[in-house]
């Protein structure tokens, strides 16, 4: 008798406790805004992704992790290099943690893997790269935004326009890593460069992870070319740039690349003096001389003792997009349509300069003509020209 009573009391207490906890959780959830963050903290992008997370955290600290009286909580999940893992983590964040928004991911393949899920579950997402045009075309979703650029068009278009109009180059040798994005970039370059009247005399694709770039140097037609154009990144970019210098290609032809790639920090720092004088077109530079960028760079230096890279800036802007949209809807993150409208109408000053969307899901921004210089013993991408209001599918005036 007594045992049975005891059991009933204990069970009753448990149930009551669970109910209370449930209620308390709901009350908390009513106030707390949960944002899932999807960096690839393991794998070959780990260091860069950490920088993106730093950018995100800085943006949130600037508003004290709070918008319109509601507290914001970040849930960071490492999505690694496997797109399937990214999807698993997104499901976990949604179904277990009930996130309201997502920040990330970085790599296009992971973004494509989660696209259908976030579309069906109506989760507003701001990615900090995912720069493939497919996110604006066949994989478009009204819930998916990004803070980056549009591969193959922006800033690629200017990497063709500037050498033609400013440098006066007419003949290009295109080199790129041999995968889908590399081919897309070359296509984008050709469209503008040949459209303006230039000629691509060689297209050389190099497998990702090529150990020795020496043999490719012999192939480059230095007698006929005005410049070499490149789309490389990571350790391939370092070996490629080094080879261009060691094999004397640099002394014979101009080097004008597409931005956010070959001579972008941190690869730039590994390339060392071999990268000096290389020009490119990009939507950001860590040494951009504006009050907002100067403030941003210093803030990251103070907080994390590191130098800003494009990853830091993209992460920061992705978070800022979410925060500004939240402010616009006065913290009502549940108003998904309102969030989308706010994001589509955003206009603000980012470290990279003015950024706006005008209904698009990829930024309209400045493109900068940059050249690699050494200042105070350190390599940087000095800005020597600015082109404003460049949209994701920009075409030069001559070709419209």
């Amino acid at each position: 008798m007594k045992t049975r009573l005891a059991v009933i009391l204990v069970l009753g207490a448990l149930v009551a406790g669970l109910l209370l906890a449930g209620c308390a959780a709901e009350e908390e959830a009513g106030g707390l805004i949960k944002i899932g963050v999807l960096p690839a903290l393991t794998g070959s992008l780990a260091t860069n992704e950490e920088q993106a997370v730093h950018g995100i955290k800085l943006a949130l600290e600037e508003v004290n992790y709070e918008v319109a009286g509601r507290k914001i909580e970040l849930l960071v999940e490492d999505v690694g290099e496997d797109p399937a893992l990214c999807l698993t983590k997104v499901k976990k964040l949604k179904e277990l943690n009930n996130v309201d928004l997502l920040l990330g991911p970085c790599v296009t393949s992971s973004g494509l893997a989660i696209r259908d899920y976030i579309h069906e579950n109506e989760i507003v997402t701001t990615a900090w790269f995912c720069s493939s045009p497919s996110f604006l075309e066949e994989s478009y979703s009204r819930y998916f935004f990004r803070s980056s650029h549009n591969s193959g068009h922006q800033p690629t278009g200017h990497s063709a326009y500037i050498p033609y109009t400013v440098n006066g180059y007419r003949k290009a040798v295109c080199t790129a890593l041999d995968y889908q994005a590399g081919h897309d970039e070359v296509e984008g370059f050709k469209e503008i460069f040949e459209g303006l009247g230039g000629e691509v005399i060689q297209e050389i694709y190099m497998p990702i992870g090529t150990a020795d770039y020496g043999p490719y140097m012999a192939m480059i037609n230095v007698d006929n070319a005005d410049f070499v154009w490149s789309f490389h990144w990571g350790d391939d970019a370092v070996r490629f740039v080094k080879a261009l210098d060691e094999y004397g290609i640099k002394d014979q032809v101009g080097l004008f690349f597409t931005g956010g790639a070959t001579v972008e920090p941190p690869d730039l720092w590994a390339e060392g003096d071999s990268a000096l004088g290389i020009e490119d077109a990009s939507h950001y530079s860590a040494v951009l001389d504006t009050p907002e960028n100067t403030r941003f760079v210093q803030a990251i230096r103070d907080k994390y003792q590191e130098d800003v890279t494009i990853y830091t800036e993209h992460g920061y802007v992705a978070a800022k997009m979410a925060i500004l949209a939240l402010e616009e809807v006065e913290g009502d993150v549940e108003d998904v349509a309102g969030m989308i409208e706010a994001l589509e109408n955003l206009e603000f000053e980012a470290p990279r300069g003015p950024i706006k969307f005008e209904g698009l899901h990829s930024p309209i921004q400045n493109i900068y003509h940059r050249v690699v210089e050494k200042v105070d013993g350190k390599l940087q991408n000095t800005v020597i020209g600015t082109y404003a209001n460049v949209g994701p599918y920009w075409m030069p005036p001559e070709l419209r």
Partner: protein, 293 residues
């Protein structure tokens, strides 16, 4: 139609790359020949030595110290691995699995310590600059690699064929019971060979960094190439390792020049051809690749 200077460049590139492969393959050949074990962590030694070399050279400003540090660290690692772990494992399969485990551990450690971005080491200034070859320039450093590779090849050959220790190593490869039977501590021989192979891998790792950078992809990439070299050149002799690596280096270089997107395919294609028509490798040795337990 390729010009003469382009072909010269391609040939020299092939030789230089081949020499880097040789340094690695030589160590693997020693280990396989004597201990009948394939050390999957060999590429990891190479990668680790590269990272350590960059780190020390950057801190001290001295390339030679970087080499010493990289080679030394990896040599110690090899010694510890063999003496305290490999020796105690019962069979060859277990030993190979252990080395595989080491690959993952070393990779994670490297990423923890140095992050995921590539690191670069510049060639020492007295080996910097380039020599003119027609319209092109060829880096002096790669010429130096070819020279170093040749010196080491000759040195290794001499060591294995003409010294007492080399004789013991060769005897241990043929019949280790007999070697133990005449009073030589075969276990010590194994440890010495393993350590020597690790030292070679370490040397290759640091020397290669001004060409290949130190990056987290190197361990598998280099190991794969070294294994191809071994299959092509013949598994058990230093001469085979040399022939195989120079051949693969040339195939890579020439292949890129004429068929730029097919470089890796060509390398494995050559390996497939050799396996089909000359399975013992180009330099005849007596055994095909077999993992004996």
């Amino acid at each position: 139609m390729p010009q003469a200077d382009q072909l010269a460049l391609v040939f020299l590139d092939g030789m230089a790359f081949g020499m880097l492969l040789f340094l690695l393959a030589a160590g693997l050949v020693l280990m396989l020949g004597v201990m009948n074990i394939i050390n999957l962590a060999h590429g990891s030694f190479y990668m680790l030595a590269g990272f350590i070399g960059v780190w020390v050279a950057a801190k001290t400003g001295n390339f030679a110290l970087g080499i010493l540090a990289g080679v030394g660290a990896v040599g110690v690692l090899g010694l510890v691995m063999e003496r305290f772990f490999l020796r105690r494992l019962p069979g060859k399969s277990e030993q190979v699995l252990f080395t595989l485990g080491c690959v993952y551990i070393i990779w994670d450690l490297a990423r923890e310590v140095w992050g995921s971005n590539p690191r670069f080491l510049s060639a020492p200034s007295f080996l910097g600059g380039s020599v003119a070859i027609g319209d092109y320039q060829f880096p002096v450093y790669r010429l130096a690699i070819i020279l170093v590779g040749l010196i080491i090849a000759i040195g290794l050959w001499f060591f294995v064929e003409r010294t007492r220790f080399g004789a013991i190593v060769r005897a241990g490869a043929d019949d280790k019971e007999m070697v133990a039977g005449i009073g030589i501590d075969i276990k010590r021989v194994f440890t010495a060979v393993f350590t020597l192979a690790a030292l070679l891998a370490g040397l290759a790792g640091v020397i290669a960094t001004p060409v290949l950078t130190a990056n987290l992809r190197l361990d598998w990439q280099i190991l794969t190439l070294a294994l191809v070299v071994m299959v092509v050149g013949g598994l058990r002799t230093i001469q085979g390792a040399l022939v195989g690596s120079l051949l693969i280096g040339l195939v890579y270089s020439v292949g890129i020049f004429f068929f730029p997107e097919l470089s890796m395919f060509l390398i494995f294609g050559v390996m497939a051809l050799i396996l089909a028509f000359r399975p013992y490798g180009i330099v005849r040795s007596h055994e095909k690749l077999e993992l004996k337990s």
